[in-house]
């Protein structure tokens, strides 16, 4: 069974791959990239929205992961560890450096939908307006809420990814939610979102 096709069935198998990756085994590193890339990409989209430089950000996440692997303590899942690095990269992307500011904003890349029925257009618009409403909040509150609401990550894992306590993370999500509901009073798309069961 080759590494390229093997997927870990259990946590112990994952731990074995991670140990080899920490030793610098190229095949184990390839396995990490293969199993985690989709999640990293999705997290970045949920946090930042569609972006033209998404591939660059994904690449940055994995290069940074290689450097950070020796710090992995095996007391959490690899996905959580990778998620934490993804959040850090996403936060840096939210606060662009002077070089990026000079280059100008990265325009959102329109999502390529095979078909664009009304329901999909409405959903895309609501998510876009949700992001805009949350843009006035701090990065920590915004990321916590987006991971919770758009990606479905549970509070404890978000806390671990953001290196914060569970109570602090719950508080961040609560205040983001409160702000969203306040803005929904004046936004028809968001108001509709709140009224739906």
């Amino acid at each position: 069974m080759s590494l390229a096709t093997a997927l870990p069935a259990t946590r112990s198998e994952e731990a074995a791959y991670v140990r080899r990756a920490i030793e610098g085994d190229p095949q184990a590193l390839q396995w990490v990239a293969r199993t985690q890339e989709a999640r990293v990409r999705r997290l970045l989209v949920r946090i930042l929205g569609p972006r033209q430089d998404l591939d660059d950000l994904v690449q940055n996440v994995f290069l940074e992961l290689c450097r950070a692997l020796p710090r992995f303590r095996h007391d959490s899942r690899l996905s959580t560890f990778v998620g934490g690095i993804t959040v850090r990269v996403a936060r840096r992307a939210m606060s662009p450096t002077a070089w990026f500011r000079r280059r100008g904003e990265m325009p959102e890349e329109p999502v390529a939908l095979e078909s664009a029925p009304d329901a999909q257009s409405l959903a895309a618009e609501r998510v876009r307006r949700t992001r805009r409403a949350l843009s006035k909040l701090s990065d920590k509150k915004r990321i916590a809420f987006l991971l919770w609401a758009l990606e479905g990550v549970d509070v404890a894992e978000i806390a671990e990814m953001m290196d914060a306590s569970v109570s602090a993370t719950r508080s961040r999500i609560f205040y983001a939610q409160k702000e969203l509901k306040r803005l929904a009073q004046t936004d028809p798309y968001l108001r509709e979102l709140m009224e739906e069961p």
Partner: protein, 430 residues
């Protein structure tokens, strides 16, 4: 209460899945990238982690080391400097080291200086530095005799102002919120109300006013009072029984070669009635129970009194004074003579007392005889006082020429003393 809205969350999740599908993988072959650059980056990460650990360990080791070095350096700087560090004024440092901190209750003799808190006074000694002694006087009055500060500083701090000693005899009192300073000898600097002034010998200053002349009697009383402290200390040193041998050693060590010797004095005038009564009570209380006493020697010499013989010069002096005041002059004379047969300033003071007693009794001849007995002490500790008594004795005997000659000699030999001031006043009247 942080209630999270699960309905909202579910709706947003659906919207995200429907309206924001994740973009497909780009052109970068991430697996190839990880295989080629990944191992080098992992090694770099390992090196960084090791370096961070070493740095953290080094920092953890440096903190206690730094604290230890700092504490060592601090303790060396803050260590008592009297013995270990050469001082700019080692002599004063050594003297100030003998000062004891604490409340002043009655007389306190520190060698380089002595001070006595009057009844009702609240005073406390603080050693402000190796060469600086401070007396905090919050209430009442204190008399100070700065014998030899050897370059050090002695000050009296009151709520109203501060009095700095320049080597002198003075009295400081806090009277109804005002500060009063009387200087018998030397001068003091007074700082009060944002101003500093010098009060010289023979002056009295009260806050809010200008210095005025201090009455000669007050000056003489203060001077005599201060000298009596030395006499009391010396009496303890010269106790014939040897019971105070330890005290004697420490007492004499404080005396400097050029410093006047202490002696007993007849300065009962300056002591308060309370103190006198207390001393008399003390004498009368001690007398009956005195073991191995008896007045054999006292009777043999003076032929007076029923009380047992005192055991030390201090007690002699107190008993003689009590006898004089009670009118038992024969006993007082006997005790003074017995005391005068001893050594040191206590004996010298006894002859001075006897001379004064004889003068008070109108017997200038006997007074001069007593003064002649005192002459064996030379300048001694009470030379100025002896000369002034000589003036008065000669005047009482009608020898005005001799009295004038003695008065001039006193002014020349002891300028600035209260006796000299009194002599000048006497000469001016002639």
């Amino acid at each position: 209460m942080t209630h999270l809205d699960d309905d909202l969350r579910a709706q947003l999740l659906r919207d995200a899945e429907r309206g924001e599908p994740v973009a497909p993988r780009g052109g970068v072959d991430l697996e190839a990238l990880m295989a080629s650059r990944g191992p080098a980056l992992v090694r770099e990460g390992r090196r960084r982690r090791a370096a961070t650990r070493v740095g953290a360990l080094a920092l953890a080791a440096m903190i206690p080391l730094g604290l230890w070095v700092y504490s060592r350096a601090t303790s060396e700087d803050d260590a008592p400097t009297v013995a270990s560090r050469p001082s700019a004024a080692p002599e004063c440092a050594a003297r100030a080291a003998r000062a004891r901190e604490g409340a002043v209750d009655g007389l306190r003799d520190e060698g380089f200086a002595a001070f006595e808190a009057e009844a009702g006074a609240a005073a406390r000694v603080e050693v402000a530095g190796p060469c600086e002694t401070r007396i905090d006087l919050s209430r009442g009055a204190i008399a100070v005799h700065a014998r030899d500060l050897a370059g050090g500083a002695l000050s009296v701090r009151t709520p109203v102002g501060e009095v700095t000693v320049r080597g002198t005899i003075f009295r400081v009192a806090v009277e109804r919120g005002a500060l009063a300073v009387e200087v018998a000898e030397g001068r003091v600097a007074v700082r009060a109300g944002g101003r500093e002034r010098v009060v010289a010998a023979g002056e009295r200053w009260r806050s809010g006013g200008e210095p005025t002349e201090l009455a000669p009697e007050a000056s003489a009383a203060l001077d005599a009072r201060v000298r009596s402290w030395t006499a009391r200390a010396a009496a303890a040193v010269e106790a014939p029984t040897g019971a105070r041998e330890g005290e004697a050693t420490s007492g004499t060590s404080g005396r400097e070669p050029g410093q006047p010797r202490a002696g007993a004095s007849d300065t009962s005038e300056d002591t308060s009635e309370d103190t006198r009564a207390a001393r008399e009570r003390e004498v009368s209380a001690e007398s009956p129970g005195h073991a191995g006493g008896g007045l054999a020697r006292a009777r043999a010499r003076g032929g007076a009194g029923d009380a047992p013989e005192p055991t030390d010069p201090e007690q002699f002096a107190l008993e003689a004074e009590a006898a004089r005041r009670s009118g038992d002059l024969a006993r007082a004379r006997a005790l003074y003579r017995q005391l005068g047969g001893g050594r040191g300033p206590t004996a010298e003071g006894a002859w001075i007392r006897l001379a004064r007693l004889e003068l008070e009794q109108g017997d200038p001849r006997a007074a001069r005889q007593a003064l002649a007995r005192r002459a064996r002490f030379g300048r001694g500790f009470f030379d100025a006082e002896a000369r002034w008594l000589e003036v008065r004795a000669r005047e009482a005997a009608g020898d005005l020429a001799g009295a004038t000659r003695e008065a001039r000699g006193l002014v020349e030999a002891h300028p600035g003393t209260p006796q000299s001031t009194a002599a000048e006043a006497w000469l001016a009247q002639r």
